[in-house]
């Protein structure tokens, strides 16, 4: 019997068409997808070895299409509907924008706000990804600007990637995995993915029972 590996749930979020699926497919399957096939919800699993340790990544690739997300008055919540209820189960987040689209970059802040608020934490394992770095000519988001955001969020790791050229693809996922490994190194055993271990200050739940 093989030793049970640690499992992490990660989610890829971001605006429509920024390359979330291409990035994920490159990482998991080593394929480049030229066509644009908007995602509704796809899931992947991959065993990865990082720094000599092996773990399983459960990756949920989400819809960037806004009609599948819940948008609220404040504009603060822009997660897929499902994630609102399941955010607590997610360990790490990839926030993807395209360097060719300023609005996709501007969508990141509300996404992070929503995550932090729902998980009730100040900080969460996260990587910012500026995809389509091969399209330098169409660049709308300068490296400077992205760096500024990363600093503002407390030096969150930031990569510019190209799913097309397979540049920085593994790096993005590995960085997140390392963050997760580090964070969960204390609480041994498999299955970090199940439950709200991530985030610490989870409040006790006062539940009154139904008496029959």
């Amino acid at each position: 019997m093989q030793p049970s590996r640690r499992e992490y749930n990660i989610v890829v979020l971001g605006a429509g068409g920024v390359g979330k699926s291409c990035l994920t497919a490159q990482f998991v399957q080593n394929v480049w997808i030229e066509s644009y096939d908007p995602t509704i919800e796809d899931s992947y699993r991959k065993v990865v070895d990082v720094d000599g340790k092996s773990c399983i990544l459960e990756i949920l690739d989400t819809a960037g299409t806004e009609q599948f997300k819940i948008y609220l008055k404040t504009g603060k919540y822009c997660l897929p509907y499902r994630l609102i209820l399941e955010a607590l189960l997610i360990n790490g987040f990839l926030l993807v924008y395209s360097i060719t689209s300023l609005t996709s970059f501007q969508e990141l802040t509300p996404i992070r706000d929503a995550i932090l608020r729902i998980k009730e934490v100040d900080d969460v394992p996260l990587v910012i990804v500026g995809n389509k770095s091969d399209l330098e000519g169409d660049r709308q988001v300068s490296k400077n600007r992205a760096n500024h955001l990363s600093r503002k969020w407390g030096n969150v790791p930031l990569y510019e990637s190209s799913a097309r050229r397979r540049q920085n693809v593994d790096e993005v996922f590995f960085n997140l995995t390392r963050q997760l490994m580090k964070k969960h190194s204390g609480d041994g055993g498999a299955g970090a993915g199940s439950g709200g271990t991530a985030g610490g200050g989870r409040r006790k739940k006062g539940k009154s029972c139904i008496i029959l």
């Binding site: 509704i40 796809d42 729902i118 139904i210």
Partner: protein, 787 residues
């Protein structure tokens, strides 16, 4: 402009829209233009359509209230339409509240909401009360804003330009005002067409600025937001209901039907089952496997195989219903598809048909149908969040439909490739369907006409709130530089300058809904309608005569000798002039006068009893007769729509009530904790209220009963609320003093159960339905102010 086509689009669009929009007749005393005789046939058809216009205009003639059946059903239809429009605006606002609270309550239930945020949510409730009616603070402003909103409404390009400058944060409230207020009359062809014109202008700007078609319409932009909001109006909603509600409801009834086909997930479930059954895992079953290993597992394959067949069957029924309902698809949505097609062809002349279909599908499926399939509750298709298995099935169905519209790359999730036959078998069908969707006529000519008519309407009004007025003004002001840099913006500039700085938003309590009279500052009365329409004086007289005689005939008692066929026009006129009713008298006089004039002009002659005119009048009456049927048919349909919208409203309101009471509870509990326990206010006990078994069964509160049929009549329940948020349900048998069973219920628990899709509340003898219980408690125990 050709007059022949003028009315055609709107009749096709909605059978009675041109006849029920309450036009006022155009003054025509001094409308003399060229009298060049057009060839007979053209003139005749011209006459027909323009007469239709006259008739529709006279539907609201103040001079003479026509009170026949047709007028009555038309009025019913008009009222219904305006009720639907205003109700769907209310629902749109309520839905946003409920969706907001859905997510907040989920957190609250998990005790994850800080007190200050609880207060924030609570203040939200105060906001969702209805806004009172009122008037504008001052007359001069009323006039200035009336001019501004007239301009905004009749020249959609300003709003279109504004939509392109505002930020994503600003667009929501702007769109709410645009779609539910400025163009809020969803069944009024002119407003609908103006809105679509605005759409077109934003769409083509998007095509201009997008470099490659693969990324067209994909990003979240003001256009996509407009599409979302647009599809949420009455027609879009009722369409979704028609094509999806039944299928989805069928599906979610089968809570336990698991159609997962992802081998990994299937394998996991299998492991779990084995472990539960036998307490251990056999050595050849590792806990976690790779996707490939799972897919190769024979047992997994055996589970998946029949599910594939079933999924394809279900997806096929969805597809068949969608295709069969081509004609039910709202005109506006089809017209948007058409714009996407023609803009693509223009910008990318080499684009292959399947590429174009992908783009149309990108709107129709990705933005419209599929979101409703994935989250049917937010689209009022079902009343509660579906449980896990059906939810997954719905997601899979949506993915299959998406694959149909788009070229699927199974590279991503290889297991989806097993569903390839569905795509292969339906590809042709779907492309044909997407092209068929685009086959609708344009409306530009009828719009031009509608606009002329609107100019002469004296009662053009907009029901709008002060805050909507101010917010729109503020946005115009903020982006004025960009807006006014365009061509032809002189009028907008003048109006904005006169209005000065935009007032701040007023507090909720002072906000008022006003009826803003709209009128143009620049165009006067349109005496030149006939010039605009390119018709002759003869035509005008002829039409007027026809219109008058039709009106007289509709008003005269059916038993009147003058109404007998063949028609005698002189006699009809004479009869009318002998009537006491001044309106009839005047119409009669005018009718006789016109007969003479037309005869002098040589258009008709006494000799054949004014045959041409008479025949057209008779035809018109036949046409009006079938019009009545059509109007009634449309009314019936819209009543259905209205009922759906009202039901949904009731549901939204009750959901809000539940949340309110829950929140009140949580807050009073934490307040109680903060205060001294002894100081707590004395709580008033409510109830007990008595309910019979039969009653609860009928209302669906009891969803299952183990009580033998012949005993049910003797069973009843008492419900008491000793304090807010706590309920005691007891079950009694007639004649016995003590209850058989008592159950303490906390509102929190019920809400938590609802949130987790636990629908059953077990009372041993009977099973209650959780949402229904919640509704019942709400209705009975609403503690007025305290909630």
């Amino acid at each position: 402009m050709s007059v022949t086509t003028m009315l055609a689009p709107s009749t096709r669009n909605s059978a009675a829209s041109s006849t029920s929009s309450g036009f006022v007749p155009v003054s025509r005393q001094n409308t003399i233009t060229s009298s060049e005789g057009a060839p007979r046939s053209v003139r005749a058809s011209k006459r027909y359509s323009v007469t239709a216009l006259y008739l529709s205009m006279s539907a609201q003639d103040r001079d003479l209230e026509i009170e026949d059946e047709l007028a009555r059903v038309q009025k019913t239809l008009r009222d219904l339409k305006s009720k639907i429009s205003s109700q769907s605006k209310k629902n749109f606002v309520l839905e946003k509240d409920v969706r907001y609270l859905d997510s907040r309550i989920a957190l609250l239930i998990q005790n994850r909401m800080a007190l200050e945020e609880q207060n924030e949510v609570a203040s939200h409730f105060d906001e969702s009360s209805e806004i009172e009616g009122g008037t504008f603070p001052n007359d001069q402003k009323t006039q200035a804003y009336g001019n501004l909103f007239y301009l905004l409404q009749s020249e959609p390009r300003h709003i279109a330009a504004l939509c392109r400058c505002v930020s994503m944060a600003e667009i929501d409230s702007l769109l709410q005002t645009v779609m539910f207020t400025i163009y809020g009359n969803q069944y009024e062809s002119r407003e609908e067409h103006l809105l679509l014109t605005m759409f077109q202008s934003v769409l083509s700007a998007q095509f201009e600025t997008t470099p490659e078609y693969s990324s067209l319409l994909r990003a979240n932009t003001p256009v996509s937001r407009m599409m979302t909001t647009y599809t949420r109006r009455g027609p879009g909603q009722s369409y979704l209901k028609v094509v999806l509600a039944k299928q989805i409801n069928n599906l979610i009834e089968h809570k336990d039907l698991n159609l997962e086909i992802n081998p990994l997930k299937v394998y996991e479930q299998m492991i779990k089952n084995v472990e539960e059954d036998t307490g251990a895992l056999p050595a050849n079953m590792p806990r976690s496997v790779s996707a490939e290993q799972a897919a190769e597992n024979v047992q997994v394959q055996a589970i998946i195989e029949p599910r594939l067949t079933m999924l394809m069957e279900i997806a096929n029924t969805f597809l068949a219903t969608i295709i069969d309902n081509l004609d039910e698809t709202p005109y506006g949505i089809r017209w948007i598809c058409k714009q996407i097609r023609s803009l693509t062809r223009r910008k990318y002349p080499d684009a292959k048909d399947h590429i174009i279909c992908t783009l149309i599908g990108g709107f129709f499926f990705l933005r419209f149908l599929n979101p409703a399939i994935v989250t049917p509750r937010s689209y009022m298709l079902i009343d509660s969040v579906p449980s896990e298995h059906p939810r997954r099935t719905l997601t899979l169905i949506a993915k299959m439909l998406q694959n149909l519209a788009n070229k699927p790359s199974y590279a991503k999730e290889p297991y989806m490739a097993r569903l390839a036959p569905f795509v292969a078998n339906n590809k042709m069908r779907i492309n044909k369907f997407l092209n068929d969707l685009c086959e609708v006529g344009d409306f530009y000519e009828s719009l031009e006409m509608d606009n002329y008519v609107a100019l002469s309407k004296k009662d053009l009004e907009l029901n709008i709130t002060l805050n909507e007025v101010y917010a729109t003004h503020a946005l115009l002001e903020k982006h004025s530089e960009e807006l006014l840099s365009g061509r032809d913006t002189q009028h907008l500039r003048i109006l904005l300058e006169e209005l000065g700085a935009a007032p701040a938003q007023v507090p909720r309590k002072e906000n008022r809904a006003i009826d803003l009279p709209l009128f143009s500052r620049w165009e006067g009365n349109i005496d030149d309608l006939s010039a605009a329409l390119d018709i002759t004086q003869e035509d005008v007289y002829f039409m007027e005569a026809k219109s008058i005689f039709v009106q007289l005939l509709r008003t005269l008692p059916a038993t009147s000798a003058a109404a007998r066929r063949p028609l005698n026009l002189r006699k009809i006129g004479d009869t009318a002039t002998t009537m006491k009713d001044m309106g009839m008298f005047r119409k009669g006089m005018r009718g006789l006068e016109l007969l003479n004039q037309l005869q002098e002009m040589g258009v008709i002659t006494d000799q054949d009893n004014f045959q041409i005119l008479r025949e057209e009048i008779e035809q018109e009456l036949v046409h009006l007769g079938s019009l009545k049927e059509k109007v009634m048919e449309e009314t019936k349909k819209l009543e259905e729509v209205y009922k759906t919208i009202r039901d949904h409203n009731a549901y939204l309101v009750s959901q809000l009530e539940t949340y309110k009471s829950y929140l009140h509870n949580v807050r009073s509990q934490s307040e109680g904790k903060q205060r001294n326990a002894g100081k707590q206010q004395k709580q008033q006990v409510l109830g007990p209220y008595k309910f019979t078994h039969q009653q609860l069964e009928k209302e669906g509160v009891i969803q299952k009963s183990n009580v033998p049929d012949n005993r049910r009549a003797n069973i009843f329940f008492n419900i008491t609320s000793p304090m807010p948020g706590t309920f005691v349900i007891s079950l009694h048998y007639k004649g016995r003093n003590r209850g058989l069973l008592e159950l303490d219920l906390k509102l929190d628990d019920l809400l938590e159960m609802q949130q987790n899709n636990h629908d059953e509340l077990d009372l041993e003898y009977v099973q209650f339905n959780v949402p229904k219980v919640l509704a019942l408690l709400n209705k009975r125990f609403a503690r007025k102010k305290n909630w």
